[in-house]
């Protein structure tokens, strides 16, 4: 099964890096969507289905916490897994995200293996299933 993934981060270069890591790790991806902030992500989600959201926390316009609150209030979106990739380290804030329903938090800076392992765990895939190498090209 190929997953559609939404990457939400106000840094274009970080979105590229995350996308590249996912592509090279063998995770099966159907479509990638990108948004600069929570508001853009919500607009995108009105028209497109995603299986996983990877989001930053600190973003202008609408931050990751507000995005998560909106998602959980929407019956059609509340079950989409959300994983935060963030510089936020405050335990209370991270716990607030988990309490609201985030599936996990990956702290920046991160090793590529952290993303791969986390996504495999959340999406229920394992190395033994033999993930296919994606067609994601190395050239950005």
């Amino acid at each position: 099964m190929a997953y559609n993934i939404l990457i939400v981060d106000d840094s274009k270069s970080m979105r590229k890096v995350i996308r590249k890591i996912i592509g090279l790790s063998g995770f099966k991806v159907g479509e990638y969507w990108e948004a600069e902030n929570g508001q853009e992500a919500l607009t995108l989600l009105k028209e497109n289905w995603v299986d996983l959201i990877l989001s930053d926390f600190h973003m202008p316009v609408m931050n990751g916490l507000e995005l998560l609150r909106h998602l959980k209030q929407d019956e059609s979106l509340r079950d989409v897994p959300v994983v935060f990739i963030t510089t936020e380290s405050n335990e209370n804030r991270l716990q607030e995200l988990l309490t609201l329903g985030a599936r996990g938090c990956i702290r920046k800076p991160f090793h590529p293996e952290e993303i791969r392992a986390y996504l495999a765990k959340i999406m229920g895939e394992s190395d033994e299933a033999g993930m296919a190498v994606s067609d994601e090209e190395c050239d950005f």
């Binding site: 270069s13 190395c138 050239d139």
Partner: protein
């Protein structure tokens, strides 16, 4: 300026550069005596109930290009200017986040701002703390830490 904050800065810069940029740097506290100016600068603010701190990162063009090349796994000659600036901003963002993690001690709640790109400015005499960053023995830039606001109680 707490002495341990300078140590926290070094630790934060090293952790971010080594983890996501695959670069190890050295630090000292002497002003840049090389002729290479800094061409890129980004800053980020941390604010608590009592004070605000600004982290400013300044880099030479060759080092900035090396950073962006490593981060994006891309030939540095193929990194557009806009993308390079975004990389520097994100680097500053991550350094700010790791630094915040080091200085968070529970008594003060720190909030991290949004990183900004700026026109590089020379070091000023009243900047409380700075580190000179070197890569492979060559001047690469500066890390500046300054208190931007203080609440008297």
């Amino acid at each position: 300026m707490k002495p341990e904050w300078l140590s926290a800065m070094k630790s934060a810069i090293s952790e971010v550069l080594e983890t996501m940029f695959f670069i190890a740097v050295e630090f000292d506290h002497t002003a840049n005596s090389s002729s290479t100016p800094c061409s890129y600068q980004s800053s980020i603010d941390l604010v608590s109930q009592r004070q605000g701190v600004r982290i400013t990162m300044r880099f030479t063009a060759p080092f900035a290009r090396a950073l962006s090349s490593n981060f994006l796994s891309k030939d540095e000659r193929k990194v557009p200017e806009e993308e390079l600036q975004d990389v520097i901003k994100e680097l500053t963002n991550m350094i700010g986040g790791v630094f915040k993690g080091h200085i968070d001690n529970g008594s003060l709640v720190w909030s991290l701002g949004i990183p900004l790109c700026e026109v590089p400015s020379p070091l000023s005499a009243d900047q409380e703390a700075f580190l000179t960053v070197h890569f492979n023995g060559t001047y690469a830039g500066d890390a500046i830490l300054e208190v931007i606001s203080r609440v008297d109680r």
